[in-house]
Amino acid sequence: MLGRMEAAARMWHVGMTSSLHIRVLTLIVDAICPPPRRAALCDRAVGLCVQPELLNEAMAGVAGGNDFQWCFSQVKGAIDEDVAEADIISTVEFNYSGELLATGDKGGRVVIFQHEQESKNRPHLRGEYNVYSTFQSHEPEFDYLKSLEIEEKINKIRWLPQQNAAHFLLSTNDKTIKLWKISERDKRAEGYNLKDEDGRLRDPFRISSLRVPVLMPMDLMVEASPRRIFANAHTYHINSISVNSDHETYLSADDLRINLWHLEITDRSFNIVDIKPANMEELTEVITAAECHPNQCNVFVYSSSKGTIRLCDMRAAALCDRHSKFFEEPEDPSSRSFFSEIISSISDVKFSHSGRYMMTRDYLSVKVWDLNMENRPVETYQVHEYLRSKLCSLYENDCIFDKFECCWNGSDSAIMTGSYNNFFRMFDRNTRRDITLEASRESSKPRATLKPRKVSTGGKRKKDEISVDSLDFNKKILHTAWHPKDNVIAVAATNNLYIFQDKIN
């Protein structure tokens, strides 16, 4: 037991040092490409774009109905080959305006990047995301009653809609959800005469007059402070949190239960779904993700390991044991195998911004469902169908249990999700076109256009194609985020955060 705690302490220590590491490295990345040099690189990138070959490829771009190219903007994180476990990014999330971008990692840290306005000497760039605040959100814990270790890994981050100058976000590990306030301070009050210079209160009898303090400007300070801690409500591992559209409540889901919380109240929550059987031997299904409807605060959905999605209406009953809608696609018997259930397990569910559709990600595909049609999805996109022939080895190396997430673009016209080999996929819902892009250091020159990648699927491998056998399954993109208004995307590749944007020509 001691050994374990020691190990935990060591991890924590490593976590702390690597937090510094990230900041330093961000600085290094910025230092490597100071503005004038960046401009030069941009020019070169523009030169590249003129190549007809690339122009053709640009037509495969996906977003908003218009074709355009994606180009590299930034990469954050260490360049080192050696990846510290604690530095692996475990969640990425834009806030409602897209001005802030938060990442959480396995070391329990949250790093927030802020979008900085474009400068005049770099009109091609839409401005960059720079570190705004870094804080340790969760720390490893040990539950002495249950004798179990609680990892500090940040499972999910969700922003709250902004209501004043400060920003709020929820972050969660396996057990505890925290509400963080991120606020700026660039002034301080000076001239109090109630305290002496050491900060001690002076004897009130010796103060003969009151002095009005004045606000003096100071260096901008960003503070992150924990405002609420929602603990002890989950027996199993929390996989999702979702802020409700009433902006007052949120839900948190673990493997077997979903709880509803009020953002102000930490000592109680309402259990709204409980699928735990009385006899755990009968357990065959777990909750894998849950989300609140974007504009109907009584509606939420949750997905299961059996590939189904249940939509519940909180008005119907306090305990939503009975769903209002049940979304399930009948299984294709011809593709049945021992892995059928594992690959049909849903790893993420997301409502479209409009609230009309929802998207689910299973191991091989991403599906768009119309909330008005339960028997099958309206759209199905294959993410990496070529892996169907590899399921046995993916099962062997545990990749088959990877939980890929998915996201919508701002206008719900395109979707994005990750794959292996640092590839990520985008699907245009209007044109039904898809594209595979890669997050790699090789193309990480400012404004360098991302070259579409192709995986050869049987037959002869063409030039520029990569064979299924040479895919690197250790490089996986599980977490991606799409700016709510712009075509800016954030892609987490292990310990690096890539930011891409569309090219303004």
Partner: protein, 251 residues
């Protein structure tokens, strides 16, 4: 679709045997439950069995690794257990339908460890930690004597089965918390208590009361297994298991 099916099998078995496409087609059928009864098992059948063996072996291996504390995810273990259940059903339907599916097994997979593991399939498949009672059984009531002969144990297995299930309900979430969801391995739980039985006993009584230790089967000697399994089988898989045992004995 068939094309995919072919590939799927292929990748799983590539190191084992090269196979012809038509064989895979029948195999597909077979997977759907249309088991063709043939006296000499076809290649496809063999491959199907091979894959099943491999998946089964990996399943058990993963569950074991899970218990050693590598990965602790309820989702993962539920998916693994469901896969085990599926294989179990598959085996039962095979056992009921096909005459002797074990012949190819004999030729292909002499790995007796896998075969041995099969035999536990006839017990109810549950998730590790699902059987909440076990956890309590252990610290609370002393386990069966390690000196238990395998024969005795064999009979006691069935008698022992009901209690854990009934006691299960008596234990609340807290108990639960120690199982499935805990970040703690079973090894850790018992570290301070009593681990001698796992080292000294041929037959871990824990296992016999439920499937909490699915893979500890591998601790058994072959002899135990041979004696044990036939009486322990459910009607469906009995035939097949008998055959497997025969093979083992011959080995």
């Amino acid at each position: 679709m068939l094309g995919r099916g072919v590939k799927r099998k292929w990748s799983c078995l590539e190191e084992l045997e090269v196979e012809m496409v038509p064989a895979a087609v029948t195999e597909e059928k077979e997977q759907r439950g249309e088991v063709e009864l043939v006296v000499a098992p076809s290649r496809s059948e063999r491959n199907h069995l091979q894959q099943r063996q491999r998946v089964l072996g990996l399943c058990l291996e993963k569950l074991q690794r899970y218990q050693v504390g590598m990965e602790l995810s309820l989702r993962r273990s539920v998916l693994l257990i469901n896969t085990l259940r599926q294989i179990q059903e598959d085996m039962q339907s095979d056992g009921a339908g096909a005459g002797s599916p074990d012949a190819p097994l004999h030729g292909v997979h002499p790995d007796s460890r896998l075969l041995r593991e099969d035999t536990r399939e006839d017990g109810p498949v549950t998730c590790p930690g699902c059987a909440e009672g076990d956890r309590d059984d252990l610290p609370l009531s002393p386990p069966l004597s390690p000196e238990f002969s395998s024969q005795e144990a064999n009979t006691s297995v069935d008698q022992q089965k009901p209690p854990p299930a009934s006691t299960t309900s008596a234990f609340s979430d807290a108990v639960n918390a120690m199982g499935y969801l805990s970040d703690l391995t079973l090894d850790d739980i018992f570290e301070d208590i009593d681990t001698s039985m796992y080292e000294t006993s041929d037959l871990p009584p824990v296992w016999s009361t439920s499937s909490l230790w699915p893979v500890s089967v591998s601790l058994w000697t072959d002899e135990d297994q041979k004696v044990r399994s036939p009486g322990h089988g459910s009607p469906g898989s009995l035939n097949e298991l008998d055959h497997i045992m025969e093979i083992l004995v011959k080995c």
